[in-house]
Symmetry: C2
Subunit: 202 residues, 2 copies
């Protein structure tokens, strides 16, 4: 049984990154997003790169590690984009605009990572590090809004509710965005920046 697949160690599927491990990580990301972590089997991931499930262990060390890498890489990228966006900007309104734009840009450009990152925290065996990073990220927005309130340029009852709202609406982008849609990433980022500034009272 199962004679249709002889051993062909040399052949590499076309159209995939030369680095096998990178192709596996990408396939895992897509499958985790489409089916969920627990519903995705190692055999599924293997099939997506043209090999059997057990062969994956020649390149990566396990399913849980694949998920952890996605989640940590996600937070690192998000925090880096945020830091770069607000770097050197002191005006609080402009700072919030740029932070929101980076937030939305991330959730449009890294749709799958964000989607998996938001849904599969419970599937992580050691979520602490990821949770700490998320919490620090949220705190950054809240403190920014609090500063705007202190300076009198924002008028919002609760900085916490405003920061949650802004973050949640940006995260929602990862639920529906696709590249051939009505808006480009840049247009989307700009419009969400506007919406967020309105929300905090300009």
């Amino acid at each position: 049984m199962k004679v249709e697949r002889p051993h062909r160690p040399g052949d590499v599927p076309v159209g995939l990154p030369a680095d096998r491990a990178a192709a596996i990580r990408l396939a895992a990301l897509r499958l985790f997003a489409a089916q969920g972590y627990r519903a995705t089997t190692m055999a599924d991931i293997g099939a997506a790169v043209g090999i059997r499930g057990p062969s994956l262990y020649k390149h990566v060390s396990g399913k849980q590690v694949l998920l952890a890498e996605i989640m940590l890489g996600t937070m690192d990228t998000l925090l880096a984009m945020h830091a770069e966006a607000v770097d050197g900007v002191t005006d609080v309104t402009e700072r919030l605009r740029r932070a929101v734009e980076a937030h939305v840009r991330y959730h449009a450009r890294h749709r799958l990572e964000a989607f998996v990152g938001n849904r599969e925290i419970g599937s992580l065996e050691e979520p602490d590090r990821v949770l700490r990073l998320r919490s620090a990220y949220e705190r950054g927005f809240r403190e920014l809004i609090e500063r705007g309130l202190a300076e009198g340029v924002f008028t919002v009852r609760s900085a916490r509710l405003a920061s949650y709202s802004i973050l949640d609406m940006g995260m929602g982008v990862s639920n529906w965005f696709h590249d051939s849609g009505e808006f480009s990433v840049d247009q989307l980022a700009y419009q969400y920046g506007d919406l967020a500034l309105r929300l905090v009272g300009r």
Copy 2:
């Protein structure tokens, strides 16, 4: 082995609803929310109501049905709250305010249902009906915003982005709300109503 639990068909755990099936559905909801659908076993659900996994089948017909009931009940309640909130209100601003308040109220009061409903659509074997209901719900918000634009009382570039934003920020409430927090459900609903009206340009 396993002698610590003799047959005691008569004893009902205290503090649980008289109706065993209702207690099971509640336990399933809590566990699905805390651990995810696939990570929750029938044995877990049984343990939460003081019986073994297989005994559940004397009251409910299976795990998938438990999930489907939660998801459909969720959408029914949400749509009913929405309909009741906007019933008889013609002014478009007031109509949007009430719709948002109902939306937020639902996501605070039915935190777990909303949370499970949003995360486990992919675990439903037949998601079509739920997806249709969700899509109709979103359409209601978008059309409301479009009417406000046509009447000239809202000023927003894209009704779709605005409706997504408002829905997403309300849904986010189910991620963090708890009864002993800073705001009551009513306070929360009111404030989110405000934020939403600001977002569409009053």
